[in-house]
């Protein structure tokens, strides 16, 4: 089995705090000191004084995904999931480390970005396709399937600024779902549109995964993750807490989360419980189909 994604020691540092006058003068001062030291022939640079706190969103994350495998990434908010996806999809560079991506990668981080409100649905399909790296010919060959999937045939020549937000999302997802990438990254995009369309998206996602491509899935819906992925990575504070078969990792994760919910306030608890039955319901429907 060939390797689709290889990540070695990925780490990402952010600086917290604004760039203001103070930060500017610290920058300039730091540079000046550095140059001065360089002129004096001093080997080691003095640590720069900075009012901007550094923060490691990811620390030493290594993993590997082969063709045909689906890796789920779980963890609380701020655990570094999105940062990891951004590095893999070439939005931002890692501070340390290296990732190798073998094959065309499409990331559905947030569908519909890059749509232009004045453009018709048709033009936006071409624009969005081009942004995601498809040629005009490739888009044309998929055009009918995309429109058909979105169910927006009668609105396809209307500017998308006149679309409802639901229609907008449907069109965006339809483009993304027909990219035929070799590697796909999904970040909570399954929850789009109304119930029927959500189901359609969900099925399409399964199809993409079953077509033998590699996939990385980020979600808070545990039933979904159990169903769609074999491998699971649990990120916590930027580090890999656990990596292994989905069932094992998810069970540990759920045990820990449930422990937390018991301690935390009632608001958090109700929010979690209201989310879970909804997702569980969807998974059940899918099992039948």
């Amino acid at each position: 089995m060939s390797v689709a994604i290889e990540a070695h020691h990925l780490s990402k540092r952010f600086f917290l705090g604004e760039r203001n006058q103070k930060a500017f003068f610290e920058d300039v001062w730091g540079k000046a000191v550095n140059i001065f030291q360089h002129l004096l022939g001093s080997q080691q640079a003095a640590p720069l004084r900075s009012s901007r706190r550094e923060f490691w969103a990811l620390r030493d994350v290594s993993f590997q995904v082969s063709q045909g495998e689906t890796l789920a990434i779980i963890g609380e908010n701020g655990a570094g999931k999105s940062t990891l996806l951004k590095i893999l999809s070439r939005i931002t560079k890692p501070t340390i480390g290296k990732a190798k991506i073998n094959g065309r990668l499409a990331s559905l981080l947030e569908v519909g970005t890059g749509f232009h409100p004045e453009f018709s649905g048709r033009d936006n399909i071409y624009l969005n396709g081009a942004m995601l790296g498809l040629s005009r010919k490739e888009v044309r060959s998929r055009f009918d399937r995309i429109v058909d999937f979105s169910g927006l045939e009668s609105f396809i020549d209307v500017p998308v600024k006149n679309y409802s937000s639901g229609m907008y999302i449907r069109l965006a997802f339809s483009v993304a779902a027909h990219l035929n990438p070799e590697i796909v990254i999904l970040d909570e995009v399954l929850a789009v549109g109304d119930g029927a369309f959500q189901q359609k998206c969900f099925d399409r996602m399964k199809e993409i995964i079953n077509e033998g491509h590699a996939a990385i899935l980020v979600s808070h819906g545990m039933p979904q993750i159990r169903q769609m992925s074999q491998l699971c990575m649990w990120l916590s504070h930027g580090q890999v807490r656990q990596f292994g078969p989905t069932n094992e990792v998810v069970s540990c994760y759920e045990r820990e989360i449930m422990g937390h919910v018991g301690v935390q306030t009632g608001i958090a608890a109700t929010r979690t419980t209201s989310l879970i039955p909804e997702l569980a319901g969807r998974a059940v429907i899918n099992d039948g189909g």
Binding site: F15, D27, K93, E118, L127, A130, M131
Partner: protein, 280 residues
Amino acid sequence: MSTVKSSYVVEADRLLSSHPRELWTYRELFLLLIKRDTVASYKQTVLGPLWFFVQPFLASLVFLVVFSQIARLPTTDLPPLVFYMSGIIVWNFFSNCVSQVACTFLTNGAIFRKIYFPRLIMPLSHISMNLLNFLPQLLVLFAVVAFYDLSGRDIELSARLIALPVILGLMALLALGLGCLIAAATVKYRDLTMIVGYLVNLWMYGSLVIYPRAVVPQNLQWLLTLNPMASFVECYRSSLFGAEHAQVQPFIIAAVITVILAIAGVFCFTSAEGTFTDSI
């Protein structure tokens, strides 16, 4: 499946988009972006594309009154209106390019944060669109020239017109270089976007747009040599009308400055694209 072509490595000390060849694979996006910007700029305007012609006319008339009638600045052999209008349209082209390219990271932040494509596509499409907007304005200028010809004043279009694409290309390259440098700097310091428009406006007064080289005192001529746009504007007008005799030496200096700035700009831009989402 084009597995080899589409594979990539993300690494700490490597540019995000390292292959110039990659730009070519995104050529269709480039064309669609030009179309997008063109469509977007006329939606919900009454005059639509007519604005392109109205704006330089009005500006030329103001210059005509202020600089020719009040300040009595000479304008070579050309009628003042033709002199000013030719300068204004080319300066507008240049300044629009610089200010749009300079804002690349700020205006496209939302897209850049979600989708990867070679970011350089954006500045290139802005510049091409401005070039497309410039051409009809040039036609209007020719119409004005024809009008003068009919009313008895003889203005000959020069045979050196063939040099025009080269000069416009150099201006575009200079705008790309400067714009990219500023864009890379805006990642850290957003103040720059506020002063760019202002500085480019001031720059016009030193770039032979409203007066010919001949009126500049001898002891200030070196300033013109340092300003690539002065030489380009002069050569541009000379290629149109053959009225001024553009000098070779300042032109070569200007071209060298342009190429250096363009290389530096593109380099800074591509290194900034790897980290800009962290701070904007």
